[in-house]
């Protein structure tokens, strides 16, 4: 549920980037941070280990402007993808308004994508949420790498009923990053 703060005249949305380890969640956020104008972005906070793996979460607040006197805020979070951080993922997911699931297109990462997707659905269920209450879109990342699955194959394993919008991306170059963010923002706004 988005938060309407009448006293501060703000409406805020929490969007979480979910997905398996090393699928490019932090890279998405870094690109957003680099490419958006200074006036709309806040501090980029990343709690990473020395090896650049996200340990806790990344956080990027955006202030998109004012509509009808209300400041529009987006809080972007990533979850740590590594299996051992299951509880952290669950706590970051708490009260989010929308999810971008960042899948790794590489053939050898197929199982990790599926496991992470199941983990996400289980966490949503534990919070009493479902696909009906929290909009999700899928981003198929790393489309520039060799030995990647075809989009149809990825869709078959994660989105066989075509219930989610999906986007292709090369987050290291920024391709498809803003498109996915815009896509999920449209979905969360339609739930106000």
């Amino acid at each position: 549920m988005s938060t309407l703060n009448f006293a501060r005249k703000e409406i805020s949305f929490k969007i979480v980037y979910y997905g398996p380890a090393m699928s490019g969640k932090t890279t998405n956020l870094r690109h957003i941070y680099i490419s958006l104008p200074q006036k709309i972005k806040g501090n980029f906070t990343s709690i990473a280990t020395e090896t650049e793996r996200t340990l806790f979460f990344d956080f990027l607040p955006l202030e998109l402007g004012t509509i009808k006197g209300f400041t529009i805020r987006l809080s972007l979070y990533t979850v740590p993808g590594q299996y051992i951080y299951k509880l952290t993922r669950k706590s970051v997911l708490k009260s989010c308004d929308g999810i971008i699931f960042v899948a790794d297109s590489q053939r050898r990462r197929k199982e990790e994508n599926i496991e992470s997707f199941i983990d996400m659905m289980e966490n949503l269920k534990a919070f009493g949420e479902s696909l009906e209450t929290v909009p999700i879109i899928i981003q198929y990342n790393k489309r520039d790498l060799e030995d990647i699955l075809r989009i149809e194959e990825l869709e078959e394993s994660l989105n066989s009923e075509k219930q989610f919008e999906s986007y292709e991306a090369i987050a290291t170059r920024g391709d498809g990053v803003i498109d996915a963010l815009r896509g999920i923002t449209k979905l969360v706004v339609s739930r106000i």
């Binding site: 549920m1 938060t3 309407l4 703060n5 009448f6 006293a7 501060r8 409406i11 805020s12 929490k14 958006l36 806040g42 501090n43 906070t45 806790f56 979460f57 956080f59 607040p61 998109l64 402007g65 509509i67 009808k68 006197g69 209300f70 529009i72 809080s75 979070y77 509880l87 952290t88 706590s91 970051v92 708490k94 009260s95 989010c96 534990a126 919070f127 009493g128 949420e129 803003i178 963010l181 815009r182 923002t185 449209k186 706004v189 339609s190 106000i192």
Partner: protein
């Protein structure tokens, strides 16, 4: 109640209530010699702030404080505790005291290293006590609809916002 639903409570402060909270914060800042006071909800959103802290920093402090609190509570559960209602971090120059006011709202008070631990605890309790009723009232208020046409305007504007 499911744990996620709990933090999805809409907290609807009126402008007067928010002013009252900020007035209390202003008073306590002077009396306690704290540097900053930040009020946030458990999902990491900034609700109010007082002190020299900028909005940008307060927004990040809120996200991190909620994260720390949530992680600490997983730790509590593993140790067989229901929750740890207080988390304290001590640095060379700065200390931060995070405490739970209601099940959904947290208070973070930032002190410099001159303040003794007892005083920090005392002030955190005092601030919490003063604003608890206001927060409870705001939590119990039914969620208010946004201004008419907000959703439609927002939908139209998304392409221009990025």
């Amino acid at each position: 109640m499911e744990e996620g639903k709990l933090s999805k409570l809409q907290i609807t402060f009126t402008e007067e209530e928010m002013k009252k909270v900020e007035d209390y914060f202003g008073e306590y800042l002077i009396e306690s010699e704290a540097k900053d006071i930040v009020l946030l909800n458990k999902s990491g959103e900034l609700l109010a702030k007082s002190g020299d802290i900028t909005s940008d920093v307060a927004v990040t402090v809120s996200a991190l404080a909620a994260g720390v609190f949530s992680a600490t509570n997983e730790l509590a559960r593993i140790l067989g505790e229901k929750e740890f209602a207080v988390t304290f971090h001590q640095g060379q120059e700065t200390n931060i005291h995070i405490s739970m006011i209601t099940t959904n709202v947290l208070l973070a008070i930032i002190f410099d290293n001159r303040a003794p631990m007892g005083a920090i605890r005392f002030w955190a309790k005092k601030v919490s006590k003063s604003i608890k009723d206001i927060i409870r009232k705001a939590e119990q208020r039914p969620p208010k609809e946004g201004p008419k046409g907000l959703k439609e305007d927002l939908k139209k504007e998304i392409d221009n916002l990025f």
